[in-house]
């Protein structure tokens, strides 16, 4: 490893470095209120479904429009619009990670990641619940 090597190595390293910098387009995790402060900027909003308010989804007329209300752990609330089909387990989700941008009157969501209890098999609480349900069904039989 001599001159030409080292030159090419540095060249490549610099190139990769530049690319890394160029690709470091990360975003942030936000609450409703902090997302409001950066309206129009792409964020990850962590909240849960507000079950007291209606979910609007009418797939026959428009399968690409879902709206619901989300509430975060600090109590911040927002309407969410997701122009896609309704995720199956939305109503049962415990926590929702929404990617998108805050607008003046709603959160324009481009992707939804649900945290549902059933996906956590190893979660003991869920297992306890399942056992209790099974006990209930077998004692009524």
């Amino acid at each position: 490893m001599k001159k030409s090597h080292i030159i090419i190595l540095i060249g490549i390293a610099v190139l990769i470095g530049c690319l890394l910098a160029y690709s470091a387009d990360f975003s942030t995790y936000d609450t409703v209120s902090s997302a409001r402060q950066k309206e129009g900027k792409f964020v990850h909003l962590i909240a849960k479904l507000d079950k007291t308010k209606p979910i609007q989804y009418d797939p026959i007329n428009n399968p690409n429009y879902l709206s619901f209300y989300a509430i975060d752990s600090l109590g911040g609330q927002t309407k969410v619009v997701y122009r896609n089909s309704k995720p199956n387990d939305l109503e049962k989700s415990e926590r929702i990670v929404m990617k998108g941008k805050m607008q003046s009157d709603h959160f324009e969501c481009s992707d939804i990641l649900l945290k549902c209890p059933s996906k956590y098999k190893d979660d003991k609480e869920q297992l306890e619940k399942t056992v209790q349900e099974q006990q209930a069904t077998s004692s009524t039989n």
Binding site: S4, I12, N64, K86, E108, L113, Y120, E128, Q134
Partner: protein, 839 residues
């Protein structure tokens, strides 16, 4: 102490005993192999070796008994065991019994341990003078893996999660205070439905064999340092490293094929952290293979070979850490969930032990590792191979750095989230890598080791270059990419990458026939390179021209604006299309009809029969017709999983899955239409609001229903206003054609309202039928894509794997019959799995 009824405690005790026995045996094997490796006296060395082997064999037998015991417990549905309760159920088909064992953490660690045992036994018989140092590393890795399933308490800390724990000890619940609690547990939770697929039977064993095999390069590198025979380990290692690269590569792509076939990610690769975690070690292994070949031919690149051989295994352990400790959290869809603090720490310990001791050993010996101090020529093969390895290695570091963001967040308590478009943030870099690697793969073999004459190089490379350029141009003209989403720059990069990879395919094919004169024995490398490049070409074409055909813009159900007035950005592609039962709907060139739904043989599984038909536009003859049956699985806990169905042609796949479906259980209808007579502008009421008949149109040019244009059609334009002042449109049709009168009802799904154009009275009043249904209209919402030329991806993978196996055979000590048997088996198995099964 209470006596519980109906428990079978013996298998668990037996299994747990053998876990502990294997664990201790692995420790003894490690110490004995290590001692043997340090012994100078040949007699002493032999006696230590014999003892070490015995310990290792005991460990192997123990592990096999443990696995059999778990299988026994699961196949007998002994729900008193947590593992059986969590992973099996009564209705689980027999073929999934093995799959349900490796669904869990403990079972998959055990699978890894079993493969490592097999590798260990082969090494004991085959590695000759390397046995002692190599096996001390393997036994140590066994020791760590067995610790993960040990399940004993050290003071208050549980070391490892045993697969033999009892349900009543793991779950708190009042029923466990009853002696007859087992009679209440009628069924287990069972294998996750998302995983009930034949890939779940085959993918984990192959992937874990890949994982297990990466310990061999680490072990040999260690052996090289420990014995101070710094360069001798490369030769015996090469066939192992090639095997490892083949199996790991195939295992990863099996995961991709599985995701493509049966999960609704909409593709085979999503840069998910779990995918990246196993892809990174593979890349490092590939970089290492190249430097090792360079070393064997020229004596250069030995230090790099050491580094890569060690890092491949270290990154396998790092991937285990990422995927099994729950640290990925929100960023991955399919990571294992957190399994407890103690085991997370143990996995970290496993990683740190191998990383720190391996790399510091390398550091201390670094100066003693021989290196040639003359410079490689820029016209030598080894120079460009080294550059290629370096690019691959840096790519691996880049991918790993991006995947590790949750780890930084944890360490530095930051909140960095993934970028807006995760896939693009990787693709924009790897497309550049594809260009560099493609060109290097094409030209490097035309260089000779040491130095290459210009005339030789030019003479041989000119034809492949010209042909590749012509092919790339042809591709650009005949089948231009439609991937404009990320601008013209990225599109240009995709074209360049396509050229580079076509170049690599052509140049390697040329090399086999021109330079190697078709001698396939020596062509392993070229075959693997051509296959790899072909795979990338397939990826570029299938992704660059992937087409969404389920656009809801086509059937007029909604006509979205192309720009969002708020954000001034392109509107989201409306990729979901609602198909109403028995109503043909246009999907690109196809007429798609949702015919019916039917229950699958698993309870809660529902198949939606979609009939695709393509007609010749002039003759109206049906030229193509097939049925796809995507399904939705409603699980016991009422969660739904959607599984796609694909029509595979040689040159394209039509891929569809359900994005929304009704829950059937609560859906029967008993209500009837009530007819009202209205004039235009009149209003009528229903229980939850009112309907206004705005106007009646004759032969409407825009209708959401695709009616026969030869008929006379009347369409009623009705506005429905509900009590909560929501406005809806309903446009029922009445058709008059040669067959008579027919009606096409419209629905206001949100109000459970059916609206029918029933006819016209003698007094020219419009008869509108209104039905307030207690049943929802039957429909299904789907997404559908066309993936063109996706078979190139699988074909490329197969060719690459065959090429790697050819190299392995050439470098290993195989007889002719063995070689042919291995090659035939690998080729047939891969062809079957990737191209024939599931078609």
């Amino acid at each position: 102490m209470m006596k519980f009824e109906g428990e079978h405690l013996f298998p668990g005790q037996l299994g747990h005993f053998f876990v502990i026995l294997s664990f201790i045996a692995a420790l003894i094997a490690t110490i004995s192999f290590f001692t043997a490796s340090r012994q100078q006296d040949p007699l002493q060395k032999q006696s230590w070796l014999r003892f070490a082997r015995m310990a290792f064999f005991i460990q192997v037998i123990g592990v096999i008994i443990v696995f059999s015991t778990i299988f026994y417990i699961c196949s007998h549905h002994y729900y008193e065991y947590m593992y059986a309760y969590k992973h099996t159920s009564q209705e689980l088909e027999y073929k999934y019994l093995l799959a349900c064992i490796w669904e869990g953490q403990e079972g998959s660690f055990l699978l890894w341990t079993i493969w490592q045992s097999v590798i260990g036994i082969i090494l004991i018989f085959k590695s000759k003078e390397w046995e002692a140092p190599v096996m001390s590393v393997i036994s140590l890795a066994q020791f760590f893996l067995l610790m993960m399933i040990l399940g004993i308490y050290f003071f208050d800390i549980r070391i490892g999660n045993s697969p033999f724990t009892l349900t009543r000890n793991e779950i708190a619940g009042p029923i466990f205070s009853q002696p007859n609690y087992l009679s209440f547990i009628k069924d287990g939770i069972g294998l996750n439905v998302l995983l009930r697929n034949y890939w779940m039977v085959i993918h984990p064993p192959v992937l874990f064999l890949g994982f297990a095999s990466t310990v061999v390069p680490f072990a040999y590198a260690y052996a090289g340092l420990q014995t101070k025979r710094y360069g001798d380990w490369i030769k015996p290692l090469l066939p192992w490293a090639l095997m490892s690269a083949t199996v790991l590569g195939v295992g990863i792509m099996m995961g991709g094929k599985w995701a493509y076939e049966s999960l609704n990610f909409g593709g085979y690769w999503a840069w998910d952290p779990v995918e990246n975690a196993s892809f990174v070690p593979w890349l490092i292994l590939i970089a290492g293979l190249h430097t090792m070949v360079v070393y064997k031919a020229t004596g250069h690149s030995l230090r790099a070979s050491y580094l890569f051989a060690m890092l491949a295994f270290i990154f396998i352990l790092y991937s285990t850490y990422l995927t099994r400790t729950g640290i990925l959290g929100d960023t991955s869809v399919h990571a294992f969930t957190e399994a407890g603090k103690a085991i997370n720490l143990m996995i970290l310990l496993f990683l740190l032990f191998f990383a720190v001791s391996g790399l510091s050993l390398l550091f201390f010996h670094y100066k003693k590792i021989p290196a040639i101090h003359t410079e490689e020529n820029t016209n030598s093969r080894e120079f460009w191979m080294f550059i290629g390895s370096l690019v691959i290695f840096l790519t691996a570091l880049f991918i790993s750095a991006k995947t590790s963001v949750p780890v930084y967040n944890k360490i530095f308590n930051t909140h960095i989230a993934p970028p807006e478009d995760v896939e693009f943030s990787y693709n924009k870099i790897v497309v550049l890598v594809a260009i560099i690697v493609g060109v290097l793969t094409a030209i490097t073999q035309y260089f000779k080791y040491k130095t290459t004459g210009k005339a030789y190089l030019l003479k041989n490379i000119v034809w492949p270059t010209a042909i590749a350029a012509a092919l790339a141009l042809l591709l650009a003209v005949l089948y231009p990419y439609t991937f404009w989403k990320h601008g013209v720059g990225f599109l240009g990069a995709i074209y360049l990458a396509s050229f580079a990879c076509i170049y690599a395919v052509v140049a390697n094919a040329f090399y086999i026939f021109k330079i190697l004169k078709g001698k396939f024995v020596n062509a392993g490398g070229s075959v693997a390179h051509a296959g790899f490049a072909l795979m990338i070409v397939g990826m570029l074409i299938s992704a660059g021209n992937k087409e969404v055909i389920s656009s809801s813009m086509v059937n007029g159900i909604n006509l979205p604006a192309s720009k969002d007035p708020m954000t001034k950005q392109d509107d989201d592609p409306k990729e979901n299309l609602t198909l109403i039962r028995e109503l043909p709907t246009k999907m690109a060139d196809y007429q798609v009809t949702y015919i019916k739904d039917s229950a699958g043989h698993e309870k809660g599984r529902n198949f939606y029969e979609l009939h695709f038909e393509r007609k010749n536009p002039t003759t109206q003859k049906i030229t193509e017709s097939f049925v796809l049956q995507p399904d939705v699985y409603i699980m016991k806990d009422n969660n739904m999983s959607s599984n796609p169905d694909t029509k595979a042609y040689l040159t394209k796949d039509i891929f569809t899955y359900v994005t929304f479906a009704l829950n059937k259980n609560s859906n029967t209808d008993t209500s009837t239409f009530k007819v009202r007579e209205l004039n235009e502008g009149d209003t009528t009421f229903y229980s939850n609001g009112m309907l206004i008949l705005n106007k009646v149109e004759k032969n409407p040019s825009q209708s959401k229903f695709d009616y026969d244009k030869a008929a006379i059609a009347l369409q009623a334009d009705i506005t429905v206003i509900s009590k909560d002042s929501m406005h809806y449109k309903a446009k029922p049709l009445i058709l008059v054609d040669s067959l008579g009168i027919s009606q096409v009802d419209d629905t206001v799904f949100a109000q459970n309202l059916y609206v029918r154009f029933s006819g016209v009275t003698d007094t020219h009043k419009i008869k509108i039928g209104v039905k307030e249904s207690d049943k929802l209209i039957d429909f299904v919402t789907v997404k559908a894509y066309v993936f063109p030329y996706i078979n190139l991806v699988w074909l490329g993978l197969i060719i690459m794997a065959v090429g790697l196996v050819m190299s392995m055979i050439k470098r290993g000590n195989f007889s002719k019959t063995q070689s042919i048997a291995i090659l035939v088996f690998v080729t047939i198995a891969l062809f079957y799995m990737f191209l024939l099964a599931n078609q």
